[in-house]
Subunit: 126 residues, 6 copies
């Protein structure tokens, strides 16, 4: 019991560090429909995986931006993780460079969709 | 000729059983652009495949919710099939459980997109 | 500590129930390269998710056969889960029917690859 | 009844025109595991779709080589369709050009896998 | 230097021939966020690849419509290339036939999403 | 002319730095079937993209390992890039950590396929 609570709390703290305090209300909205997906999202990626010392948070977020660009369809999650990447120390230039590199591995449509999402994140932040 | 009409009629009746009577006008709208895609959609999945006795309609719709969650991009079709799944006897809990399980096989972004679509279906129905 | 051991043990027992006793040596081989992927595989899908009561094991394995057919590339995992599905009560007819239905949602190449894998599982078992 | 037989026969004749007489024994092998996938494969793509006059067989096979290159995983089907494309009038240069163009839309890994498959088809034919 | 300018100019002229003069302002908007993705898009697909004589522009656009239908998620790019395909000599019937054929290789959800995009292009043009 | 040669030579030198001298004969084998795909592979990713200063080679190879793990089907290319990643300074632990993280974004089958490929690279190098 004890342990389960601390996995959740650990993951939630890490999500706030990456995505900012607004992530709490986004999780609440997700949990209204699926409390289980919300809980697993906090615990599995952000407590079990992102806590591991082998890669730092900036590198992890860069890898995630690459992964979501390749998948192509989850532009809502890419929006979140571009914001997350900027919060943990990525520059805009690095994010756009990751997207450009993904044109090599997943094609130009993947890169073009991701640039549009990056543009909307950058615009929100001005 | 005879046979062709009955494949279409059989498929259309099954689509109405799954998706409700509104599917007829949705098919008409599709047929305005592509009568051939509309006709094949009625005949191939819903007459040739869904009519087969090995799996019941509820199981078929559960499998389709899984398939569309994995594909990730066809959220319009997922919306339709979540409504279909509910119509043929799935509970909301079962649909959300399928989506949660797909996080294992297609990752969390796939599950998160599907939860959003499920949420919008559930909200429409209240 | 206690809890962590029991999640692993619970997941491992469930994997043995699904895949048979041979899964233990397969996990050992996986753990030689990546003990972390092996541990997470036991704990996340097979303890956290498959243990949940909303869907029974047979339904879960059917959904997984659908998911892996749609993904197309993980034929090694599909081989495993077809064997798993048979172990937990699916018939060969049901597995082939799932694959046929996936031709609708992911196209014929997905179905053809999956039939080849099903054929090799069925042949091993004769 | 009549009609069903002729759809199958029509599709089978078209498959032989595209893939050569060897396709009959390949279909038999497929039908040993799944007679339904085999029958639907003959009837749906090769009777219902490829028979339509809007696109000629050469164009259809070029589109299919593009589609399978983009999907990436079904290299067995790509092998078949490269042979089919050559049979219905494509040149090797055209096939390689399609694959090169797909590097733009699906990335270099897709193109590299397809070139390997094309190389093995070309080598068999010498 | 000389050469680099001419690759860009050659690609830009070809993009205008395919997509119409409006593509220049779309490229400018893309270049505001990522000048490098914009430049590579002009130079790699439209100067290096589409300039090659083996396939004509109409065939290339047909292949691209197939590729984007299969990928499924890049409906914005599909919208562009359906307009491009019409500009370089494809008929609406050919475009819808390509989409129908892709139902065979990528499933009905891919075809249904593409028909919706084709419908919106056709409607814009009336 | 001048410029074109130097793009190729620059890309080839970078490929040798990443993949070792053996890459030259692999490119020759590729060029026997498709000299154009071989040339574009050297020039576009490895001259135009990887030469850019925003990301170092180690980061680029980590991103590529992530991308190929997500795509799932190009295990031959993943094998190459895992070797490349090790050559430019990644540790085995980092590569396995990237693969583990990709279980979150692309599911466990993607991670399991990639671990098998990593295992075969590590075994070759002992």
């Amino acid at each position: 019991m004890q342990e389960k609570i601390s996995r959740y709390e650990d993951g939630l703290a890490r999500m706030q560090a990456i995505f900012g305090p607004g992530v709490v209300s986004e999780l609440s909205r997700l949990a209204e429909t699926s409390p289980d997906v919300a809980r697993r999202l906090v615990e599995f990626p952000f407590a079990d995986i992102y806590a591991r010392p082998v890669l730092d948070l900036k590198t992890r977020e860069m890898l995630t931006v690459a992964a979501l660009t390749v998948l192509g369809y989850p532009q809502g999650e890419l929006n979140q993780h571009i914001r997350g990447a900027l919060n943990v120390g990525c520059t805009r230039e690095e994010i756009l460079e990751i997207i450009l590199q993904m044109a090599v591995y997943a094609g130009f449509p993947a890169a073009l969709e991701a640039v549009k999402t990056a543009a909307s994140v950058f615009a929100e932040q001005q």
